[in-house]
Symmetry: C2
Subunit: 418 residues, 2 copies
């Protein structure tokens, strides 16, 4: 085989000998080993395991047409029939792998043959049109990174605190790079009439989910009909072959398996926006068309049901706003007495997850961790108390209160409502 | 079933009746259909296929723990034992799906158990250290989008033109969001000595690939030891569980399956940088340590072996530079007589693929398409002629000449050297 001589005599022991000098470089990193130069050179201190299982002694696998993750990796969406949750505690950066993007569907994921799929635009337009997927891909294209968050994300915040993970509490939000055609381009092609003020969007699944979309300047500037996600075609559970993307709006209005857009003068009052997806207010009225997902942040590490050790660690989390960019995230490590400014990881993009982090040394005593963010409009993520004061506790949607994680003296991290 | 009544009576025919008014909205979009309002309302003109195969009439699939692409999608890396190529002609935006990131390995992809993997830092450091993957994940983390390009990408540009696709010619480049620890942080922890000027990086595969890395200010500012790719763990073929990331440098020095970093005073002159990965110059000397990938751009659509139709289309492509941001891309649709400025898709990031596009109406006559880019240093991508004048034709690496696509009168697109 084509194995070169080693460049010098140094080799890493496959398992570390207990006789090697152990040193805690970072408290909490029990396995981090400091070596004396001498011990490196002493062959008899090496615990080489030159077995067939040593990946340096056997040729590896050939290249593959379509790659898969390592069999040692197991991060997964907690899934039932109708939804699955992104494992925020296991993920890095801001891009959600498409295989781990949360799902929410109302009658399963349809198996759609893209060559048979059509999108119709009709109603108050000069020229009703039907598009194939190929047609849409010939139009001027646009790509952007954007989060999609289910309006029901974090809904357990309205209830009594239970001992859940960040995935279970907040895993109905994900970020992808979406590619498609601007909605405005397609409405131009169809000849949007001046009195067209709302759009009915209909999905081609067995639930035929329908929502009314206001044709505001923001929507006309941002909305897209998407066929791409993270470089390749949309995933089936994200609307393959076409979905409506309304950056910043609640997930369900980003209609998946999009088959129809009808322009009208007023909202269409579909059952999905009368019997569902409204917010029950303290006075018993229902707030309708609460479409924008307001600013939210959550610490993903340390987070619920994790176990930490005393010493230096990095607090990491995500912040986002349906109104634009996140401009600041503050973190408290003492239950809100003092707040420190977290670093925001570049790029910081509008209506997109933003990664924040802050170094922290845990002294081993009970405490509470929280994060709060401010978006470009100046809106500040509210405390749970302030949110409930304004909204009551009977809504199922749009919970964006500050998340509290209690750290027990034994290092266990637990969901807390305060 | 939970199927709501349709919001109104409009339905999209599953197949389009030939009696419907056909209209070419965009020339080249033969299947794009314009409907009269009347025809929409006439039930007998609908070709409804209300069969069991209609995805609106059968419940879909349940949610899944780890998603897969649609069975109708087939974009793939052209793969052999030692490498595979990203299908640039099939992709959108700037993020390359991890499953389609190009591969290059020298003795296969090793199957590494991350719990047994170690990274050793030694040599001219005050305190040699061995890290587990868990240790590294506790250090302050950093994420960035960056391209990695094989130094041999586009190497067929040095030879006579063959009728290849853009994937075959230029598919050894991909972009991911990478997450890890800054190399500088780890060298600080180990106590980099003042005379440490080069680093030996060694991979834990059966080729034990080794390269020498200069510890310049740029490298210390940019380099990372990565464990994350596009949100999840590195893929096996990208170095799982650890790889060195040197943004802007040729692919092979971004050592995969990283197991060892040794600090020295001078380059280590490994076989990989003496017998390979040097550039043979016209005078017979070999240029060594040509590490930076200079600015390049390529039109991905229309591109080699595609077929286009007369009318409006969008020219799309990618541009990148190992020296920083791309600041401009120009496109010619007349073989270089005139050049137009392409639009750059946001975000435009340093040492990262940048998507460009330009609308174009093809009149059906033979022509040549080209793109050229300029990076933030002012460097302009050279013509093939200028590149060969400076470098000769005996190198295998670092080809970044302008790509020419000839459009034949029948719409076929062909690789051309001019």
């Amino acid at each position: 085989m084509d194995r070169p001589p080693a460049a010098d005599a140094g080799e890493i022991p496959a398992t570390v000998s207990p006789s090697m000098g152990r040193r805690r470089f970072l408290a909490g990193s029990a396995s981090l080993i400091a070596l004396s130069s001498t011990s490196l050179l002493l062959g008899h201190e090496r615990a080489l395991e030159a077995s067939e299982s040593d990946p340096m002694r056997v040729p590896g696998s050939p290249a593959r047409a379509y790659g898969e993750r390592s069999r040692y990796e197991s991060a997964s969406r907690a899934a039932d029939d109708s939804h699955s949750l992104t494992p925020l505690q296991d993920l890095h950066g801001i891009v959600t792998p498409s295989s781990l993007h949360f799902e929410r569907h109302h009658n399963g994921v349809p198996a759609i043959d893209p060559s048979r799929h059509r999108l119709m635009i009709h109603g108050l337009v000069g020229r009703p049109l039907i598009f194939t997927v190929d047609d849409l891909q010939r139009f001027p294209s646009v790509s952007r990174l954007a989060f999609i968050e289910c309006s029901g994300n974090s809904r357990m915040g309205w209830q009594d605190a239970q001992d859940h993970t960040v995935q279970e509490l907040h895993g109905l939000t994900s970020t992808s790079e979406w590619t498609g055609v601007k909605l405005a381009t397609l409405l131009d092609a169809a000849g949007l009439q001046p009195d067209g003020a709302w759009l009915l969007a209909e999905g081609g699944d067995a639930a035929a989910l329908t929502r009314s979309v206001p044709l505001t300047a923001d929507v006309l500037s941002d909305a897209m009909v998407c066929y791409g996600q993270n470089g390749e075609a949309l995933r089936p559970e994200q609307g393959y072959p076409l979905r409506l993307l309304l950056p910043g709006f609640e997930g369900n209005i980003n209609i998946k398996w999009l088959r129809r857009l009808k322009v009208g003068r007023a909202p269409f009052m579909t059952r999905w926006e009368t019997s569902r997806y409204t917010d029950l207010m303290p006075d018993g009225t229902a707030y309708q068309f609460s479409l924008v997902m307001e600013a939210k942040s959550v610490i993903t590490s340390p987070s619920g049901r994790q176990q930490i050790r005393p010493g230096v660690q990095e607090i990491r989390g995500l912040a986002w706003s349906g109104r634009g960019r996140v401009v600041g995230v503050e973190v408290t490590v003492d239950g809100g007495r003092t707040w420190r400014t977290a670093a925001l990881q570049e790029p910081v993009l509008s209506k997109c997850h933003t990664r924040f982090c802050l170094p922290w040394t845990w002294n081993g005593q009970e405490t509470v961790l929280q994060s709060r963010c401010v978006d470009q409009t100046g809106y500040r993520q509210p405390s749970r108390e302030a949110l409930i004061k304004a909204r009551g506790i009977h809504s199922s949607y749009h919970y964006n209160g500050i998340q509290s994680w209690k750290v027990e003296p034994d290092g266990r991290v637990r969901n807390l409502h305060m």
